[in-house]
Symmetry: C5
Subunit: 89 residues, 5 copies
């Protein structure tokens, strides 16, 4: 899973049916120190009620998609947790 910051949301009226009713959030990959990490911003489906500015963990691929009941096609990035704190050694 990767660390990311929620930086907004995407309004996507024309989409495949399995994305209907899903919150499509804009996320920016970050490092544990909070800096922007290598890699473009992504669109991830929210599964935990994440809001703007929150630090989250995002899962990818089949592991992410399978959180949602069928139909779940077209989902390959899901926000699966909201980070409270990071304990760095």
């Amino acid at each position: 899973m990767y660390l990311a910051k929620v930086i907004g949301s995407a309004v996507v009226p024309q989409k495949i049916p399995s994305l209907n009713g899903k919150k499509l959030m804009l996320v920016e990959p970050i490092t544990a120190g909070g800096e922007t990490a290598l890699g473009a911003q992504k669109v991830a489906v929210d599964a935990v009620g994440a809001g703007g500015g929150e630090i989250v963990i995002v899962a990818q691929g089949t592991s992410a998609r399978q959180y949602f009941q069928e139909p779940n096609q077209g989902i390959d990035e899901v926000i699966v947790g909201i980070v409270d704190s990071l304990n760095c050694d």
Copy 2:
């Protein structure tokens, strides 16, 4: 899913059968601000009627492929939505 801009289409007469009848679009990964993002241009199968210049969201891997009925081999990038707007915090 990643954000991308549709920059054209690919004419691919010689292809595996499961790609027959599919619209093969050229997409360029972009950031939420609209700049070209890290990562090469890709070929994605259109699932929502996306046209040139439109901002779209692209799903990858099995999650993408499974949008299409079998035979759907060889499909690992699918345009699953056309972005109307991005609300950035």
Copy 3:
């Protein structure tokens, strides 16, 4: 799927059985403009009779592997189409 140029082939006598009889091509990821794209050269199994110098589209992962009947283990990149032309807006 990504765009690539076929730049050669790989002779791999010692390999897992499911790769026997498969044409292992050397491909270089390229942009729509034909320049070398970010990302290393890859080895992809040919499924459409692609030859040296041709511009192709390559699928990855399970979506690629499933084009071949079992046994198809160890196959995660497949040339699934030969590009005739790219229409860029």
Copy 4:
């Protein structure tokens, strides 16, 4: 699998149920020489009792997720081994 150093842990009270009870570790991809490698830090589920500062190997995707019994959705990076030594030629 990639090499990584455990650099801490993530406290994620609000998460999808399948992550409950899982140790969420912060890992930094490294080279065989121990330098930080290309690629952002990640969050990986521990499967072998890895602690801070240890060098580990991390598996990704479905291969990683399937180590855990269902429900295992949302898991796409797992620490699957603690490195004792690396024999470099």
Copy 5:
């Protein structure tokens, strides 16, 4: 699949059971010209008796894992062939 050079092996006494008895090799992604390619060194399970210094092809993900009988969790990179020669156009 990607090209790599075997640069050593990893001694990983504490690991998940499905990795027991598997040869864990250190591989460095290379270009067809033999230079180090973009991307960190990886740990790959050997399936063809590859030794130090040899040029190999590595498969990733489910396609790689499925070469091994169950239990095969935690395996997402497998050496599936030893390159004899590369014919570059």
